[in-house]
Symmetry: D2
Subunit: 339 residues, 4 copies
């Protein structure tokens, strides 16, 4: 019942492409997975926040894991998001994903209700005892009940609990966790879900990251990871700085994860409409955001700039959207000889 | 397609009794509903936060509404919590609950992700257009994306949206809503989910409340409501003051809604274990809390005090628990002649 | 050493008019005080948040109190803000303001550092023991360390502590305080600093308010207070609703208390420039805000509308500013025959 | 008017020793400064949050800077905290501290009122224009109005503004600042005030730190800094981990900065009573905390353990206090032959 290997490297919390009628586009999902593997990511993390797990039914969540496990087919490990409505349902999902061949499951702390540390402990304890598959805790305090350091230590006493994915972005919290847990569990893995601080997280002892942006520029993340591991920090630092503009455009431009879906689209995948409806003004915003992001990704060398060229960017996404739209309108007017 | 009546009075967001194996105890749920109706509540609100709707499967949530509608059988209206994983599933639930005979549905703002007002609008807009049954918005900013006043105004333009249940506890917010919405929609109903300020909410224009505590002391809430409506404010104020100790014991003593479940138990219902597991220390705390609450409810005249009597209370639930346990131990020692 | 009278009614936390060089405009301050007294406010509360106490030197704060006490000359009581850098300096201020003839002092909870309840207690305890003048606690959790209910109870044991001014705006908190403290100290006074909920606060047991807006429309506040005390709640409720637009324009339109200063200016007082500098864009915003506020105050009947008339208002102050400016420009163009 | 040197390395935000009557103990302050310089810190930062600047009068704050400048006497630079009640007073302090020979001033963002970025800009702009001495911004969002990245960029256009001290502890924020500001101002200095993440902050581009703990274990901080600069990251990482226990004991054990004062005392300085009074129970807690901290500092090798020995520590300071007190009691009982 021991864990056979440690989760290390870049895990992509993949988005789920949808058909226009809202159903899962399995063909596109499989094509996307192949592309991610080819680009060098170390693992897949379906049914995470990027994957909009709360917007699917229980049956759909199962289907997503099945497709991911099938398509990965052992090429890279699948860390399967397995949180369901309650402990019993979650354990059933653990059993199923074990059958499907997932390497481990990731379970977000209970959400909606804000639970105390003792309740968070009681919840994961039950799962740790009954799960037939290795479990990673998923701490994302902006969305779910926080998992504090003493609770992590208590849970690390269960062999089944093999790691934590932390999306708090709190460097000192990560250092504190590693300091407390690693001596008692040298095999415990620490994954950071806050790519805006990925290089320093790795430098201070993290084993890897589960990073939404790695679903957009996987080559870049693999490179950043390899440089950091090779202790080529001057180069890694530059990549960390460079990543910020894309990060901000994806995370702060629209209600997460819609900005991420826009970006994945620009890499050539038909992600389709989100399950969270967009108002009319949001649809216009999305189109403008797409143009700006195309310019950003073009700077990474992973996309062509838009036909009308790229307006200078200010780092403020709202202003950039308006600039880029203006540039597009001017370009079209010129084409027509109107300017 | 117009709404035939306004929701007014006290709606009880009922807990769901469970068997020891975690399945729904329908018999006890029906018995509890009958008791609530006999005690004078004006309506039922199943699948709310008190009803732990997130801890049930979609099928179970449906079953709960079916049982509630059947058991109420038109005696009092059912305001059915209908939020599901996404807009499509939520609309399906609206259709089903319409068939079941619910008076209206209540739909919590999207949670987990923190959505912008524009996204909250887009979400409810879709439901307002397609629901065959009247819709009340459910604003509970401590758990879900907030619904702000401009968004409420925009949504009040849909005839299908007939009201809001607000659990923010923010008096000024409620006044602002009523001021903005009532002139354009005199039929719009405002229900407060924060009983610690229920009397002033009613005085300032609310139509009623959806109050967890009304599931524990329904007679008391009916009385408080009637007094306030009769403008007997001096008496109503005293009840409002009196309510606070029970409110604090229920809301701040344990992770909500476990304290509520303890209290309902004391009124003679077998609520069974929650779906959120309790650690060992939490189980001990729960037993101690139950004793203190029995003393509080005894002061309302709705329960006998515990056999060992009631220790004086300090208003700090943690201290009170220890005091009451000590009193119990001393009482038992005396019984045995050891003191 | 007992307090001779309870503080009741509307206390105005007055702004401090300044000369263009930033020094205190005593003449205008005295004229303003006379006007407030004539308009019927029950007391003055200088050196509050509205009075920008933190932006004056210790010497200036003393001077402000001296001028206020002199000018009130016993016509209405002065509740003097006396918080200084530390306990020793604060007690010195208490002594001085006692000499000046203040009725009581108000002392804000320590700020900058966020102190624990035990530290807040220790701070006020020291003052309660040594102050020669009655003390009211000032709870404003958005700016300073919160004073919780158990701490208020402990401090209410000191005869010298005679009340609390609470600007939390939390109705349930106020009810809880009154319930806990009034039985042990029937003379303790509760003043609400959140006028957006003033009527229900009074209904539930408050003795009065310390309300920034009463420095702009004192007649209106006196009327609202009198109606509520006379139990004419239907009328009082309408005034409470009506007040909201002005409240929002003052509190949410600019960094507090700049909006308040703009409004006082419109009642005919030369408040001069704030000590917090305004950027160029803020100066333009301020001019636009002034126009909108003039329209709002005109609706109260206390000012003439601007010469160019008033554009319809949306309740969103940003939009309203642009509308009103446009209206002004159009009016001027028409005047000149350009339209 | 250009800045002659960049601030780099470890700056100690020193506490201010007091006599029993609350007045400044200048002799002890001078002795402490000498000790810090001998231990290798790169600079001094008086009148910071650790120095309780808000608890002194304006005159006392001046005196503190004078003593620090005199005592440093050019051996290390003094970064003088110069924030006063308003812009005019702050500029006067800048002028005075320039005369005193400070290397630069540090000015905290306006506090009490929560100001918008535009107001924060307007405030610092005025100071940047008029100060005769270089200015560093001080960002500490837990206590004062936050200074956001666009505002920092705007302020970096003033030659007089030469750096920022950031105590947010937010790694991604620091990376974002450096990325945005360094290209336009290569001389701009970035100092981190959150020592729990000091090593990664330095790795990612910071020039140094202003760290309260460096006032307790200056030798350790100098060593950590030198190792990091020498790229000996494996060793630096161990020191970063080791530092956490002391950090937590100082920052989370008592209302900041009382825990820091306790720790400085243990290095042999008579810091005296704080200006924030302690309740009786807080005085007992302080004594217990002192024992635990003595054990922690003994582990660093900078103090002898207490005579009664050190109880094993759990990392939870509350539990540790009780353990250590128990150990002390047992030791004394043994001494007397009672055990």
């Amino acid at each position: 019942m021991s864990s056979t290997r440690k989760l290390t490297g870049i895990f992509t919390p993949n988005v789920v492409p949808l058909h226009d009628d809202g159903s899962i586009n399995e063909h596109e999902l499989r094509r996307y997975i192949d592309w991610l593997i080819d680009a060098g990511v170390h693992g897949l993390y379906p049914n995470g926040s990027s994957g909009e797990f709360t917007r699917f039914t229980a049956e759909e969540r199962q289907r997503i894991i099945k497709v991911c496990c099938e398509q990965c087919a052992g090429r890279i490990p699948v860390l399967a998001g397995a949180a369901e409505a309650n402990v019993t349902e979650t354990i059933k999902a653990c059993e199923l994903y074990h059958e499907y061949g997932a390497a481990a499951v990731a379970i977000v702390s209970p959400f909606y209700y804000k639970l105390s540390p003792e309740s968070v402990y009681a919840y994961f304890r039950e799962i740790a005892i009954h799960s037939p598959i290795d479990v990673t805790l998923y701490n994302i305090p902006m969305f779910a009940s926080p998992i504090d350091v003493p609770t992590i230590k208590r849970l690390a006493e269960f062999e089944r609990v093999i790691g934590i994915k932390d999306s708090s972005g709190d460097m000192a919290f990560m250092i504190r966790m590693i300091k407390e847990v690693r001596p008692m569990r040298p095999d415990f893995c620490f994954l950071s879900g806050w790519e805006a601080a990925l290089v320093p997280m790795l430098v201070m002892g993290c084993d890897g990251g589960t990073n939404a942006l790695s679903g957009v520029v996987p080559e870049f993340f693999r490179h950043l990871y390899d440089l950091t591991r090779a202790n080529r920090l001057d180069e890694a630092r530059e990549l960390q700085y460079k990543m910020l503009e894309l990060f901000d455009a994806i995370v702060y431009s629209a209600d997460f994860p819609e900005g991420l879906r826009v970006a994945v689209e620009l890499r050539g995948f038909n992600v389709g409409p989100s399950r969270q409806p967009l108002s009319e003004s949001q649809q216009i915003d999305r189109a403008a955001l797409s143009r700006v992001m195309q310019c950003i990704i073009a700077d990474f060398g992973y996309a062509k700039p838009p036909a009308e060229g790229c307006a200078p960017r200010t780092g403020k996404i709202d202003a950039d959207r308006i600039q880029q739209i203006t540039q597009g309108v001017l370009a079209r007017l010129k084409e027509r000889g109107a300017l």
